[in-house]
């Protein structure tokens, strides 16, 4: 029996925020994610001062569209990790979905059919992860690391190792705008808002916190933990599918290596930088959004500032480190007050 004993540190953005009246500045300093926000602001201001190309409408829209796919994955991951789960195979699920979507479209199937089939497959993949995690007691990270490898292979099989182009099918989703806002961004925002609402205002979402906080207690309190977990894994699967279709529409093709581990790691980095706990029980969509945007802004800034490609990874790593520390130091200060 492994009983999880979390530290008592009141989680940032957790279900409780003790606000005291008065002292606005202090309240601000105690608001969640101040550290992360500060890092983001510094990066934005520093970049804007050094290049005019940064703070333009088109560039901002650009950044937001670029992070849309990651944001959808990160949203699912936030929910799942809050419930103490982990899906390391979402990136590979994206690979499979883009591959399948591309094949279906290029074989002349209708867009509707393709969308439904792809998301269905992705959901089933998520569900299978959930079944293994729930019924075998293997740690979710381990299970999904294995399925990630497996799915990478499946994606190759579906593509038969070549690139498959979808021509101009789904072009509008990946490239057009509505009221000046790219469809992809609209989708990502919808997903994020929905996730935030679910986590905060539904019993399903609160159950996720409870399961992540102490699974035994959750089960004893009458929560159908098994069903909840299966649903959570299925939802992350479905969101991977959606992200896959978004990516496909943006790229116009699927090729070996689309999605996969690099996408997965970006999403994981965004989520954990945003303060979602690897051990479960704590997590906020706001934090994840900040994490996703920070990563997008940094990549964009490094390009615009012409940082040499050798220095880019160093810079990204450095910013990640600083952001993680800032978020944590801030949390600690809040706890001390």
């Amino acid at each position: 029996m492994s009983v999880k004993t979390l530290p008592d540190a009141p989680g940032v953005g957790g279900p409780h925020d003790r606000r005291r009246p008065g002292n606005r500045l202090g309240a601000l300093r105690r608001a969640p994610h101040t550290g992360l926000t500060a890092v983001l602001v510094v990066v934005v201001v520093a970049t804007a001062l050094r290049t005019d190309a940064f703070a333009t409408d088109t560039n901002v829209i650009n950044i937001l569209r670029q992070v849309s796919v990651t944001a959808v994955i990160a949203a699912g991951l936030t929910l799942l990790m809050t419930a103490g789960g982990m899906d390391f195979s979402m990136g590979s699920n994206v690979s499979v979905t883009t591959a399948l979507g591309a094949q279906l479209l290029s074989h002349g199937h209708s867009t509707l059919f393709t969308v439904v089939a792809s998301i269905l497959l992705a959901t089933v993949i998520g569900l299978v992860n959930g079944l293994v995690v729930t019924f075998t007691n293997v740690a979710p990270f381990v299970v999904t690391l294995a399925t990630a490898t497996l799915l990478d292979g499946v994606a190759l099989l579906v593509l038969d190792s070549v690139s498959v182009s979808i021509g101009t099918r789904m072009f509008s989703l990946g490239n057009d705008k509505i009221l000046g806002i790219p469809y992809l961004l609209v989708l990502a925002v919808l997903v994020l808002v929905a996730t935030a609402l679910v986590m905060r205002f539904t019993v399903f979402g609160r159950d996720a916190y409870a399961i992540g906080g102490n699974e035994h207690v959750a089960r004893l309190s009458g929560i159908n933990v098994t069903a909840r977990k299966l649903t959570l894994y299925a939802v992350t699967g479905a969101l991977s599918g959606l992200a896959g279709l978004m990516l496909l529409s943006r790229l116009g093709s699927s090729s070996p290596g689309t999605g996969g581990l690099s996408l997965q790691l970006t999403a994981v980095a965004a989520v954990v930088i945003g303060g979602t706990s690897l051990a479960g029980g704590h997590g906020t969509v706001i934090g994840t959004v900040l994490g996703v945007v920070l990563l997008g802004v940094v990549a964009n800034a490094l390009n615009l500032l012409q940082v040499s490609s050798n220095y880019q990874q160093v810079s990204v790593g450095g910013v990640l480190l600083v952001a993680a520390i800032a978020n944590e130091v801030h949390k600690a200060r809040v706890a001390r007050h």
Binding site: G14, R18, G213, G222, H282, R336
Partner: protein, 511 residues
Amino acid sequence: MTPSIPTPPGDGAGTPHDAVLRVRGVTKSFGGAAALTNVDLDLYPGEVHALMGMNGAGKSTLVQILSGVHQADGGTLEVGGHVQHGLTVRRARRLGIASVPQRRELAMGLTVAENVMLGDLPTRHGAVRWRTLKSEARHALSGLGIDIDVERTAGSLTVAEQTMVEVAREVRRGGRILMLDEPTACLSAGAAQQIRDLVRTLRDEGVAVVYISHYIDEVMAVADRLTVLRDGAVVRSAPVAELDPASLVRSMVGRDVVSRRSERPAPKDEIGLAVRGLRDGRAVRDLDVEVRKGEIVAVLGPAGDAQSRLFDLLSGRRRPDTGELLVDGAPVPFGRVRASLAGGLRCVTGDRRALGLVPGMSLDENLMLAGDRFARRRLHRRTELARRAQPLRRSYGVVSLAGNPPVSALSGGNQQKVLLAKWLQTEPVACFLEDPTNGVDIAAMADIHTLVDDLASRGVAVLLASSSAEEVMRLADRVIVVSAGRTVAEHDITAITRDELVATALGGQPQ
């Protein structure tokens, strides 16, 4: 690990110069709320110094400051005549300060032997000497009359056994100061007796013992001097001989607390809860219990093991080898939590940290965690949650410093009330209570006893597993004595005295 402090030039015992530890004006606050204000305390070698006070009075905080876990905001600590600045855990250890914290914590993956010897493993040429390690650990345990296989892993121990292991570890280490934070809170009468005997032995060897407990009788029996904390301040400090229980209660609570057996309507004839032929490994063998509606039946036994096993079985966490469970006459399948709940059975754990509360969630959410599931709610709104939680908080007397803090920021007693409220608001047909007053102060204890009384008066069948004989005498209609997993005796409460009860529980033999 020998204390490195010079022995103060002592003359006669009892003079202030002799104090091994002097606390002056210690203040500590958490997030702006004061947990301790201006606390003075003197500890003398060869003396048991009890700390008493309501839940949240600051006892544990004081102990944690003395053992280096927390740093005081103000005031001075003097150990052996030397002022200590920035006392850390390791430094405290070196100074010979040992403590058993209120929260039982062991390295769960390691064996009992290693846990006893942790931080002080015997080695030869850099290699751990397993044989010595185990024999020393065995020796440390048996020296306290504790019979636990040292090769078991800590994770497999019951809370009571964990306590014993922790005490054994600290005692083995030696030192001049030993602080025990509610060591007997969930121990059976026998185990508690062992602890008290041990404390007396250590005192006679010259150790200064700090002893925290909510049981007045126990404190009166074991302590030489007593300090009462209220809202973080010392309200009274005197030799025990100068105190009487009633005034002690008044100084702790600020009023009199009456808790005596109350008259309840007679139990109905229908059986609310029946357990038949329950058998599970060595812990439970052939247990038969029937509880009528409106009746409180206590299960009493020497080891805590059967109690927590009973919780696992009745709550549906674990499937027994054989057995039958009936709630309100209808069979309830074992091994399915939700089936137990649907049948109207509510089980309140004795291990609230591991199985009772979600530490990261707020007080209110913990309070409504089960209830909202039964009500099949879909949506969650904080304002509305607070509105529903408010009356519960009031009727169960839950007190918190902040509005709706994470439940882990509450003192232990208040956490216990949250746990009871969480389950008892849900209109049970039958319930199983495991140590319902674990760690709560005397005022809260009286409140909880009243709550349980009310429960039975409403016609609920209550099965009570308690380690406290007083509690059983106060609440139960019938007592079932269990020994080695078997029912060995059954008594009507009116037909037995407290002392007989303790004796039966200890010996497992009916008189």
